[in-house]
Symmetry: C2
């Protein structure tokens, strides 16, 4: 008899939904362990362990899951996953590297999801909470099973009536929190910095005592309703959001004011470091957007309160296919920093094109030691689609994010193989290996046809899918490549905009010299002539052509392999249909970018391949 | 005492609204004449005159308005306008050159207006008719006063529930028709070619007898409700609209089927000749969109029924700032053709930038003898804004359209001067002259900074405001300039796509040779190197730079003149605020297009003016 898999993604070994009456992580753990018949396991609470820690111990023929309150649940999922995948049990006491492992959901209360590619919001519709509690519990299981413990329910762009989440809708927020609490998942809310003004306070100035009093009173109400709320998330003075700049105050003053209001309740204030001039004149070559976060925040190091976390995007732009690590991470040793990643594939294929992120994170970890930050957050890729992710393989990115957030060590191959084994246990090992290989190379292929050599922002404005070489070139977003008939790129060295000066050594020297700058970032940091000879002996223009052709060819190979895989339905149908779209997209990128540069440079392809006029 | 002007635009001399109880044009005429105290006039019905004809005769101290049924109303407005402007009375019997003088309103039933720049629909909102009858009667007066006699109520892209206009909403359509009937304005409805299929007929094949029967029965119902309905307007097989191509039928077969259904009721079937491949692969250089209408329709000449009018856009593309006359007009001598213009300023400034159309129409008339067509239509520029047009000066284009439709003779200067005199009677004559001068040169200025030399489609995709040099370059709309480092433009001569072959002489030779092709169309017809030397001795690239700089400088001068004019409020505030936006837009066009071509060509400006990197 086929057991119905009720939770999609990587948990087919858990056929039954978690019953509504279970309220404690230990109860959930016991229930989950009971679902697998050939597994003998026993939970053993240990108040001496940290709350999220666990240890798996063999005792007699059984496995003991020793753990703290939520640690027992994490241990149970670790045991179940190892059992299902046939991998060895983790040894020793396990505890998460980062205490806060957050997903930021850009869900709007009208049911849309900003940059969402998996359907509408799982919990909002029609300006209110509107969800199936069974699905929300499945979500809780999904998050706990990979170690995620904080979920921000609403978009950082707080659109009315999301302000009501900390007002008239508090009972609904509390009910929603109650659904995820058994899974060790705490809620967070994105708040509107100017909200006091919609409640009769004439200002939102963080130094105004009426504003401070309003937020303190509001925090009392909020934590009374949801006592374990993790905190508030704030996008301020960014892309037309209100913020302290309106009042001539610094972001430390703004963040600390909110942090003090929620401190009595143990709340954490997460403040996004995503500030730049989004009304830049394209004629202005002095302003360089990648410099913005460092320029704004580095001078504030040491000024943020202890319960403030400054959340910094991995790169200095905005989740491009390839960016160097943000220099802000190295400039604020006395500030709590969080790393912000984006699982939603805004610029990385929109859950149509395959784009497994672990290889990208491995590269990031090579430049960013995990201890530089104290927390991690990722923009969610979830939605109301039946499979929750739009593309069944997009689930890998959430799974892997949880694994990396728990243990930030480079291991893309291992994590991808684990996800494949858990997700498709019925597929022969050889085919699982093939699928893992596709996923492992997916980012490389995408980068090659889309944005090799650090060339970013050649994307269709607004929707961010498909090529538009000059699409952002004359706009106000600070995103320019300045390609002309001779050269392309922005000189971001000391001789140019000075952006490389924001880095410590050895990054500074590595990036500043085209001879040591990684090929993949060459045009991010340098303006180079098309006849510039790269380390491999090819000219820049030939390399642009070659990379795009190679990316498309790789995608064709991936498609061929994918078609031959015995994936179960409906995943197979969805994956193949999306691969057809990816092939179209890859061809457009390859042909359009190559044509664009050939029109500019006049250079023929050395191998005589077709570049269209 | 200031008399309140209730009808905006060019009719300040009519202070009172037309009372609801007047139902006949003659009654309206009598009422309008009675409003002007120092005017002695008398209506004299003359059944021997054509219905729309009139003659103004001096008899004693009075003026006799002799006319047919609606002719008396046209005569009354002619008399009132001449009286208000202090111009001589028209002499002899006057009758319109074209029996059908139509505006096509792209109003959707949700209240939006496709390509509308004057607010929401004047008569639709919330999926139904929703209007102020007083405003609709004012609209009727406005149309009659300039001679327009047909109004198509709904968008040619028939979005649900607009199908209901000829179904459950017929009583509402009839009521609306009744409001405009006293002004000699007949309604027309845009219909959905596939509508039988939403009513149980399994096909919309025009040769299917069930389809024919459905339309015949439907026409019976429609004309029973609105006996003087002018006819149906159809956009078929165009931009994803349904049409006869689905069934392997020609457009003659499709149009004739509908025409036969409505013929018993005296209905006219207006069929838009706007068919092209909107899914073109940008790599395909064989397909050339301007060829499409001729290729589709010329072979069908002589096959359309007598009550079919084929409505052809002025140029072969889509209302660009400058296009050559459509060759289709010369290819179908045995077909009723209508000329379609666009008053809505989709590509021509969106009722922000000034763009008076009569100079453009004068040029068109030089190539297109009026007798080549039997009717004229214009896409409406009306909306629910207080002033009906968004920009107060945009009213000129509707007024002038009516005047040209009545009498298609080139006279931009006269018509613009008349509009200014009627609209701003309180302004000193010298200032009226200055305003007329601004309007007269507005198209030239706009063309220079926007799209000189026949360079079109360098516009922001979708919204069509603001420059985007490559915005349409890699898209599916068939709109390419193919600019590279050496040259720009498409060769549309016999050596290229062959488009010029569609023209009769002398147009064919004139366009085909760069030496005789007008400068303004040079890059429409030819692909030329940047160092091509034009007749005035300047290189093509220098001319591109010069034109854009000159367009911006002209706009600055227009702005200066405008600011000094004693325009009445609120027109002055609106016009000045929009001029600020136009200046920004003009600067963007000038700088971005020049930068785009400098990046490609590498050519410096001969006069050392600033072209940005």
């Amino acid at each position: 008899m086929k057991t119905e898999n009720r939770t999609p993604a990587w948990l087919p070994f858990l056929p039954l939904d978690v019953p509504a009456e279970l309220t404690e992580p230990a109860q959930v753990a016991a229930f989950e362990l009971s679902q697998v018949e050939d597994l003998r396991a026993e939970l053993r609470p240990d108040p001496d362990l940290p709350e999220e820690a666990y240890e798996l111990l063999a005792e007699g023929g059984a496995t003991i899951v020793r753990g703290g309150r939520t640690g027992m649940l994490y241990g149970a999922y670790a045991l179940l996953a190892a059992h299902a995948a046939g991998t060895p049990l983790p040894t020793g006491v396990r505890k998460p590297f980062y205490p806060a492992r957050m997903i930021n959901c850009w869900d709007n209360m009208d049911g849309s999801v900003e940059r969402g590619y998996a359907g509408r919001s799982l919990w909002f519709e029609g300006e209110r909470f509107d969800y199936d509690p069974v699905r929300i519990r499945r979500l809780g299981r999904l998050l706990a099973s990979c170690g995620i413990n904080v979920l921000c329910v609403n978009n950082v762009n707080v659109h009315w009536p999301a302000q009501q989440l900390i007002d008239g809708m508090l009972p609904d927020l509390a009910a929603f929190a109650g659904l995820l609490r058994p899974f060790g998942v705490r809620l967070m809310v994105s708040v509107d910095f100017s909200q006091p003004m919609s409640d009769g306070v004439p200002t939102a100035d963080p130094l105004d005592s009426a504003v401070q009093a309003w937020w303190a009173a509001r925090a009392d109400r909020v934590w009374a309703a949801v006592p374990d709320l993790y905190g508030f998330l704030v996008k301020a003075d960014s892309e037309h959001r209100p913020g302290p700049f309106t009042y001539g105050r610094s972001h430390a003053e703004g963040a600390n004011m909110l942090a003090r209001a929620i401190a009595p309740h143990g709340g954490t204030l997460v403040w996004r470091a995503f500030v730049y001039n989004c009304m830049q004149d394209w004629r202005d070559t002095k302003t360089d957007r990648p410099c913005a976060a460092y320029d704004t925040y580095a001078p504030l190091d040491g000024q943020f309160d202890g319960n403030v976390i400054l959340q910094v995007k991995n790169g200095p732009f905005d989740f491009q296919v390839r960016e160097p690590v943000s220099p802000t991470f190295f400039a604020m040793p006395r500030t709590n920093l969080a790393l912000e990643l984006q699982l939603a594939q805004e610029y990385t294929g929109q859950q149509i094109d395959l784009y497994a992120m672990p290889p990208m994170w491995d590269e990031l970890l090579a430049d960013l030691p995990p201890e530089r930050v104290c927390a991690v957050a990722a923009v969610s890729n979830l939605g109301r689609d039946e499979n929750l992710f739009g593309h069944p393989f997009a689930a890998l990115n959430l799974y892997a994010f949880g694994r990396y957030a728990w243990d930030p060590a480079p291991r893309a191959e291992t994590v991808i193989a684990a996800w494949v084994s858990l997700t498709y246990p019925g597929m022969p090992a050889e085919d699982r290996g093939r699928l893992a290989q596709i996923l492992l190379c997916s980012r490389h292929a995408y980068e090659l046809y889309n944005a090799p050599l650090g060339l970013c922002w050649m994307v269709s404005p607004n929707n961010h899918y498909g090529p538009s070489p000059d699409g952002y070139e004359y706009q106000a977003w600070g995103t320019y490549h300045k390609a002309n008939r001779d050269a392309v790129g922005i000189d971001r060295t000391a001789a140019g905009t000075g952006y490389t000066e924001q880095y410590p050594e050895p990054l500074r020297s590595r990036y500043a010299d085209p001879a040591t700058c990684p090929d993949e970032l060459l045009l991010f940091f340098h303006r180079l002539r098309y006849d510039f000879v790269m380390r491999d002996g090819r000219t820049l223009i030939q390399r642009i052509y070659d990379d795009h052709f190679e990316g498309f060819a790789l995608t064709e190979k991936m498609a061929e392999t994918l078609r031959a895989l015995p994936l179960p339905e409906p995943d197979r149908a969805v994956a193949l249909a999306r691969m057809d779209l990816q092939l179209k997209n890859a061809r457009e990128w390859c042909d359009i970018i190559n044509t664009f540069f050939r029109r500019l440079s006049g250079a023929d392809d050395a191998h005589g391949r077709k570049i269209w006029d």
